[in-house]
């Protein structure tokens, strides 16, 4: 029982990281049909920037802010330079383009930050044990901040004009243009959101899961699977998908074999694509974001 609780708790905090990355996939995909394979690199880059900012003497909150700003700028530049110029964007074209960006970002990170994996200093070091379950403070930080950020994103789409305009672009792009919403600006805003949630995920995860120039690959993949579990069009689905994936991974690692941990994501992906292409948590296809 204690084992189970321990695994579930660890799974939830890891899943919260996937959930944030999944939100990034959803925010971009709904508005522009782009599957952004550089989403994981947003997280890795944020982690590395935060680590080196702390290394150069900045306090942790300032380092996190620098990381967030850097990734936000990278995401916006990426949209302007690689997505916007394409006349007829299809999901296939977007995969090729963003794979290119992802590779370039990885090379750049390797060049700037070197090949080593490092961990950011935890926001609060240490932890405690309750009912036999050991909990690290950092895991609580992850859960709390991810919950705040996910709620903020949800609130944004539901209650602000800008958020509603993004949903309008996702559901009826032609009508959105006719009421005066610019699809170009919507796409830019979607990338900005993706950059921000990716950066938060990267900074939160780094103290526990470590960051290197290539950790974006796994993070991105897991986030993508989580988003797909939710049908790729729903923030709520992405969050649930992330948490589910995190828990299942940890249960598999704990009860079956650690080596199978990373296989869980692929298995889930195959099962979902075969059984329910619209996602496990996707309700009706219309309700996007």
């Amino acid at each position: 029982m204690t084992d189970l609780l321990q695994l579930v708790f660890a799974g939830l905090s890891q899943g919260a990281v996937y959930a944030l990355i999944a939100i990034g996939f959803v925010s971009v995909f709904t508005v522009s049909g782009v599957i952004n394979l550089a989403q994981g690199e947003f997280a890795a880059l944020a982690g590395l920037v935060a680590i080196s900012a702390v290394g150069s003497g900045l306090p942790l909150p300032a380092a996190a802010a620098v990381a967030l700003a850097t990734v936000a700028i990278v995401a916006v530049l990426m949209e302007r330079l690689t997505i916007r110029p394409v006349k007829r964007m299809t999901t296939l074209v977007s995969l090729i383009l963003t794979l290119g960006v992802s590779t370039a970002l990885k090379a750049l990170m390797l060049l700037v930050f070197g090949p080593n994996a490092e961990g950011l200093t935890p926001f609060t070091p240490g932890g405690f044990t309750v009912a036999g379950v050991s909990i690290r403070y950092q895991e609580l930080w992850i859960l709390a901040i991810a919950a705040v950020v996910a709620s903020a994103v949800y609130w944004f789409y539901d209650h602000t004009l800008a958020g509603k305009s993004l949903r309008a672009c996702a559901e009826q792009p032609v009508a959105a243009r006719l009421v005066g919403i610019s699809l170009g600006r919507a796409s830019l805003m979607a990338f900005l959101i993706a950059g921000c949630v990716g950066a938060v995920a990267g900074v939160l995860a780094s103290p526990i899961y470590f960051t290197s120039w290539e950790s974006g690959l796994t993070l991105g993949l897991k986030g993508f699977v989580a988003a797909t579990l939710g049908g790729l069009v729903s923030v709520r689905g992405a969050v649930l998908g992330g948490l589910l994936l995190g828990v299942l991974e940890n249960l598999t690692a704990g009860y079956i074999s650690t080596g199978l941990r990373d296989a869980v994501a692929f298995l889930l992906l195959i099962v979902v694509l075969v059984a329910r292409p619209s996602g496990v948590f996707g309700r009706h296809a219309e309700a996007r974001v």
Partner: protein, 260 residues
Amino acid sequence: MSLTVRGLVAGYGRLSVLHGVDLDAAEGRLVAVIGANGAGKTTLLRALSGLIPVSGGTVTLAGADVTGYGPERLARAGLAHVPENRLVFPSLSVEDNLVLGAYTRRRRPAAERAHARDRALELFPRLQPRLQQAAGTMSGGEQQMLAIARGLMAQPRVLVLDEPSVGLAPRLVGEIFAALGRLRDDGLTLVAVEQNARAAFAVADHVYVMDRGRVVLDGAAATLAADPRVTAAFLGGGVSADGGGKPPPATDTAADAGLR
């Protein structure tokens, strides 16, 4: 605000659909455009509201050349387009659909938007009890009213509508056209593409007949309604004032009636 179209040429990629269309909608007039399926009516509206590129001719709003403007810019310039098939934002509430209709006015005082909302709801009181309902769950007629109301939220000077009556029961058609008539009386310029020629003739000031990408006939509604070519092709008998009656002819009767 008047809308003038001169020699408009447009199409889809290599396919040319409009071959030089002229159209005038003077301020405060309701102009109807009728024509068989595939005549290019929707294409005309798409071209003049910037959804598809224009390869020749001009579009003028209140004397200012707006040819080649994108739809976002035209929306800001005072043109609202109620598209074919309504295209409401399905998962958003009726209220939010209206809010987004006023997107171009988002930096104006809230009182202005509230005023536009009141007027739109006054015109379509059926929307009032459904404000919190998801737009996609409304009936076709309600969605059509919402689409028009959303267009009005921008407080446009020119409103173009693509088949506002399609798929609606005769009574609703009458209701919608009566609403358009009231908007015209308030000074709005309207261009309505319509399959239901009876309903169109009943309220329009001027009617254009399109065929194969060209305007083949136009004139004051009363004059055209008496034209035997029009009665044969589109009215199938007398014009009734209630906008009801038989559904429009499904076949291409323009040729039979000698419009080509």
